[in-house]
Amino acid sequence: MWLGNRKGATRRVVAVGLAGVLLLGACSSSGGSSSGSTDKALLIARSMDINSLDPSRAYCDTCQIYMTAVYETLIGLAKDNTTLVPRLATKWEGNAAQTEFTFTLNPKAKFSDGTPVTSADVKFSWERLQGLQASSSYLVSTIKSIDTPDAQTVKVTLSQANSAFLAQVNASYLGIMNSKVAIAQGATIDPKTDKAEPWFLANSAGSGPFTLEKYQSGAELRLKRNDSYWGTKANFPEVVMKQTADAVTQRQQLEAGSVDIAMQISNDAAKGMNGNGVVVSQVPSFNFVYLALSPGAKGGEKLTPKVRQAIRLALDYKGLIDATVGGAGQVQPSPIPNGFAGTAGLAAPAQDVAKAKSLLAEEGVTDLTLDATFPSLNVYGVDFTTAMQKVQTDLKAVGITLQLNPVEISVWADKIGKDGIPVTMLYFAPDHTDSSQYVQYFGLLKGSQWQTWARTDVSQTQTDLLTKAFAEQDATKRADVYKQLAESMVADDVIIPVVNPNLFLAARSDIKGLYYSACCNLIISDLSRG
């Protein structure tokens, strides 16, 4: 889902899927081998949140799937969701200070038009991502320069130590495009002169196992197998992602056999689904839905630290999980989701109505009414309207009235960019495997997404801690720093995670190799039928 340009008035938020490895049924031992190839297209039911198909502008759940299928990254991620594996690059190394990284490209790698993938393509792709200042540009914010001593070597110099850089390179948004083709279609690294986005909505210029065949906004995304793919070819000749808004319709289509995979089945819709040729599984995920408090927003002036803390203490977290996903989820202590570095040992949030009332009394707040405009969405099985009604009920018990105002996502994005919103709800799923992304997005760093939206003061403590984390190469010590960051973000009470829902994957029983990838959501080329 998109929510805006990082530096624009309107910004786009994300949610990208990341969860632990899930196998539906028996995964094929060969993973993405072509042994089980079939001539039948793979049909996927999904509520698509595509903001763009331009590799330097795309930023959404569906974009991750598309980018992974069409544009390859230098580094891939193994199914264990932790091990980095070669993709376009055969090897890579960083200096001791973590300020310089060198990548060696696979000489066999070529784009779908047969052109070899070179260091110039990497340089152009990353410089364009940096230059266009799109939502995913933060991933390359530490790049100072990119040198290309030869066609197969890429040397990246960073502006600061960044031990998370390799994880960031693994993010699907750092996929490589054919620079010659892109430039011929008007692509530049300057947002004022770049004109390639319309072309990318109908064409692709990647080296991945699929190419873009057709995209109809609100209807379908159609991919075609790249038959000249330089690696192991995909099993399916065609993949059609059908726009299917809700979990109920997705279930009906899956049960009727009109799709092979339903990607957004909710806990309630999943009940009684197993059997009759359909397999459903659930696993814990790293996705989460959060409440955001913006003291700097118009109408949010009374959201002082104590009032924000009172709101955090007033929430019935278990009740929220029950109300939204029927108990199929976990509480999440901090904006860094459970399982990421720095989250071990964090105290789970707990409801304390008496203390919440006491804090409000100390602050002299009585009968506080707050605007709660939120996007009318249903994400990861969580209906935002339901969740916000539960939040409203909890806050009413401590004397805070929320005026719920569900709106279209575009209206919401416009409002939060213009005036800010005192209380709202949103969702997030990671772009890569390092905890730094959460600090860069939710932390009160200068210019971070939520520092901008919440209109708060910059936290120098968090800024310094992130610099320290980037410089720290020892994983254990880095986790300690991230834990301090997590605790600091909890103490801000700007981002309050309310539910970390389990993930449901539903597919026809003959679909093999289905799992959620930490970097890429769904890897279509790993799927087969058999």
């Binding site: 819709a269 029927g326 249903n378 209906d383 339901t386 009920t393 719920l404 569900p406």
Partner: protein, 283 residues
């Protein structure tokens, strides 16, 4: 279409002639819902906004129409929904009739360029499907019951303006009206005392039939998120919640039944009134 207005039938003592069969059922249903809307705060089974039981329970003795995703009693919310739908429909119809009557009377009686201007405006408004126009107006004003109400009035009054104008044109050609004009009775007096009493019946009959349609339109606007705000127990909004919990069929069924009953009741009554007042060719 006839341009002859039959005088109202003399009503016998006791039950009116039209109040039989389906119309009687309709009146009873309407009366029950009005009573519910007026008194439900006094005897409501549960708090319509509070979770009172485990979520998504099917219908049972404690919760006749089950519970929703927040554990709220669906039957209670359905009853409270009448406190939104019925007053909104009443205000929309009354406001529309008043505006439409004034515009239609002036246009029909004065004629000429005033008539042409007013009727072209009416034509333009009526050129759009009501639901689309109401959606567009509500979307521009912002979601909420008040704005939905304003939108519906803006959509509905032209119907009555056109209807009344046709009646006024027919009545004003009668001899007694011409006589009144000849002896110098003021125009406003003629319109008020000699024309409107003979022209209003089709409007009232139509308004009765439209009542159900407005209930439906209110629910439709709420269903698409332009009407009542959560957690208000409005019927259309409740159906939206039910749609996301499709396999918990009772959540949408209860408000759906309420809408069905109210719309059907008003249609029965409207049909009976139309037949009774013999305005079939007009309405």
């Amino acid at each position: 279409m006839t341009d002859v207005i039959s005088p109202p039938r003399r009503l016998r003592r006791g039950r009116p002639e039209w109040l039989r069969g389906p119309a009687l059922i309709g009146v009873v249903v309407i009366a029950v819902w009005v009573l519910v809307a007026l008194t439900v705060p006094l005897w409501s089974p549960y708090d319509p906004l509070a979770g009172v039981a485990p979520r998504l329970q099917g219908p049972n003795w404690h919760h006749l129409m089950g519970t929703d995703q927040l554990g709220r009693d669906v039957f209670t919310r359905m009853l409270w929904g009448s406190r939104t739908s019925l007053p909104v429909a009443f205000v929309v119809i009354v406001s529309s009739v008043i505006i439409g009557t004034v515009v239609g009377a002036v246009a029909g009686y004065r004629g000429g360029w005033i008539d042409a201007v007013l009727m072209r405006f009416v034509d333009i408004t009526m050129a759009f499907p009501p639901i689309l126009l109401a959606m567009a107006i509500t979307a521009s004003l912002g979601p909420g019951v008040r704005n939905a109400l304003i939108a519906m009035v803006l959509v509905w009054w032209p119907i009555y303006a056109r209807l009344l104008r046709a009646q006024v044109i027919a009545v004003k050609q009668r001899e007694y009206v011409e006589s009144a004009e000849a002896i110098g009775v003021k125009r406003f007096t003629i319109l008020r005392r000699y024309i409107l009493p003979m022209a209003y019946t089709p409007v009232l009959v139509n308004a009765t039939m439209d009542f159900g349609q407005v209930v439906l339109l209110t629910a439709s606007l709420s269903f698409i998120g332009l009407g009542a705000r959560p957690p208000s127990p409005e019927w259309g909004a409740m159906i939206t919640e039910g749609a996301t919990q499709f396999y918990s069929w009772w959540i949408a069924t209860a408000p759906g039944l309420a809408i069905l009953l109210v719309v059907l009741a008003f249609n029965y009554v409207g049909d009976a009134l139309r037949d009774s007042f013999d305005v079939k060719g007009v309405v």
